[in-house]
Amino acid sequence: MTTRIWVPCDSAALAVGADEVAAAIAAQALQRGLDILVVRNGTRGLLWLETLVEVETPEGRFGFGPVDAADVPALFDAAWSPDHPLALGLVEQIPYLARQQRLTFARVGIVAPDSLDDYLAHDGYRGLRNALAMAPAEIVAAVTASGLRGRGGAAFPTGIKWNTVLKAPGSEKYIVCNADEGDSGTFADRIIMESDPFVLVEGMTIAGLAVGATRGYVYVRSEYPHAIARLEAAIALARRHGYLGVDVLGSGRAFELEVRKGAGAYICGEETALLESVEGKRGIVRAKPPLPALAGLFGKPTVINNVLSLATVPIILDKGAAYYQDYGMGRSRGTLPVQLAGNIKQGGLIELAFGATLREILYDYGGGSASGRPIKAVQVGGPLGAYLPESQWDTPLDYEAFAALWAVLGHGGIVVHDDRADMAKLARYAMEFCAIESCGKCTPCRIGSTRGVEVIDKIRASSQPPQLTQHIVLLRDLCDTMLNGSLCAMGGMTPYPVLSALNHFPQDFGQADTSKHAA
């Protein structure tokens, strides 16, 4: 009988040699005359264990990791024994995975991303079938009732956005997926696209039915060539089997989908800059109003959502709004795919109901820093998110709880820094990044970021208290201008990492440490 062995093909696995592992397994099987089929699945999201190889057993899929190609002959010699030093036990029972609530990521790592059959066998396209039997307003009502909020960072209720587009007059409407995942510390969108691309295709199709759009675009950053290839293959397969096209599953309703590749501009993750880019222009931010929901792509009503928001829609339509709504706390409903990264022992993707604390994530899941040194600061929500000191790690993962701390939960990306981190240097980097990536339309962002780098350089170079104090006053003043005067979040939120670093770690800016617990 053929034994299946799974080797991930997600780029996180490829980046540490998964292709070589797969080739070594195939070669060893051939040499030893064993009947083995190597299946390329997506990643389980236990990224410190990549390449995580899974072997089919009567009890379930048994894991080994991290496997290097050089380990493969010995693994065969040991007949993939549970006593091998790389043995991890049944993958589904690894506590890191077993304790998660995987809704959006239910299939991720289990299925082969290039197989529509696999997708269908694991509840795929059930949401679309339900949606086809519903009126557009009913679909929108279900998404609204689920409590789903935009997972891209701004956390705007998805159903309310869809309702605006549904009600907007116009015969032509669009669905745009923001897959320009440029924030350091985030990779959930990438994992969805590389490990379960059909769920995004299905979610966008449902969105099209809900608001009356017949065309969708996925804007993927150029840094993600694997994701682009996976997505294009999935779209082609879906089209061939009638899940996309002029007559979706014989319903008489049309939906077409196209991938557009970005070109290395961080600002195109801002929704209006993204629309400009799809239109073939420089990615310059638009002033709002008008809202994209009313005048978006090519001036038409447009739903623009993040990958995770759209990829969560199928399960809501499959299992019902109440099922999804039951997870979470307060006004943050459902689950958040936390991305744990940076200086952490066990980094990866952790999908959990809202409400877990940062400390649980950092220690119970993450196992502390990778370096073994004390953790000093964590940045949550990407390069425009605040740095949180230890005094704030008992905060629950909840949009409102973070807002109350003058921080942002954003898309749930967490980057960990150990005690060697120089917070003034990281604050400088935040300003420098803004200067490199600003679209240049508004002055506070374009000029402010460059001035910010200069002022922080002066702070880091000066040891004289009167001068130092003057520069810090200037930096705060500059941040105030950027916060209140910028057109979009790029300039408007760069002060978050800068001021949180300054407020919580004044000693790194040459100041006395008097305000350790001030927010």
Binding site: A12, F187, A370
Partner: protein, 185 residues
């Protein structure tokens, strides 16, 4: 080094650095094909630029007027788009483009030290090229490998958990491939 004895790192690096099958088509033919397939609506400008760079390696500035005319745009508009996006190149790339992630997660795992090492090893600074012109060192801001930092790409193949020693192995491997192909000629 033959491929049979190559370590996993080596084969991956060799694959990343292998010169792509040189298309004999001229830029004229590439552009004609792209224009015919993609049409002239402005939203096809980025796909055309991508197609050209994918085939030719860069976007020759002397082709800007032709592209502008096709889309009925001004040369300034097309130039503006090309220069706005970091990804587009206006000159031929070196044989091996190494992009080091400079973002926070990689910084927390020693990206600054890796950059210093890379600069020493290649004898050039960020945005520069090695003396023999083989390697170009460029920054990139996030490759989505933040839990396996630090990360880099070599001609779009991504490598994570890169230590200075692994960096040296990847670079040496590419140099070996080059030596072998020279010997073959």
């Amino acid at each position: 080094m033959s491929s049979a004895t190559a370590s996993p790192v080596s084969t991956a690096a060799a694959k990343a650095a292998a010169p792509s099958a040189t298309a004999l088509t001229t830029i004229d033919a590439i552009l004609a094909d792209l224009f015919a397939r993609l049409g002239n609506r402005q939203d096809q400008l980025l796909p055309v630029l991508h197609g050209l760079q994918d085939s030719a390696g860069y976007i020759p500035p002397e082709r800007v007027p032709e592209i502008a005319q096709h889309f009925n745009l001004s040369r300034a508009e097309v130039h503006g788009v090309i220069t706005f996006y970091h990804y587009f190149r206006s000159e031929p790339p070196p044989r091996c483009v190494i992009q080091l992630c400079r973002a926070e997660a990689c910084q927390s795992m020693g990206a600054d030290g890796l950059l210093e090492h890379a600069e020493r090893a290649l004898g050039c600074s960020l945005h520069g090229r090695s003396a023999d012109g083989t390697f170009g060192l460029e920054p990139v801001y996030c490759l989505g490998q933040c839990a396996s930092a630090p990360a880099l790409t070599i001609n779009e193949a991504v490598f994570a958990r890169v230590t200075p020693a692994r960096f040296d192995a990847l670079v040496a491997d590419i140099a070996n491939v080059d030596n072998n192909s020279r010997e073959a000629v």
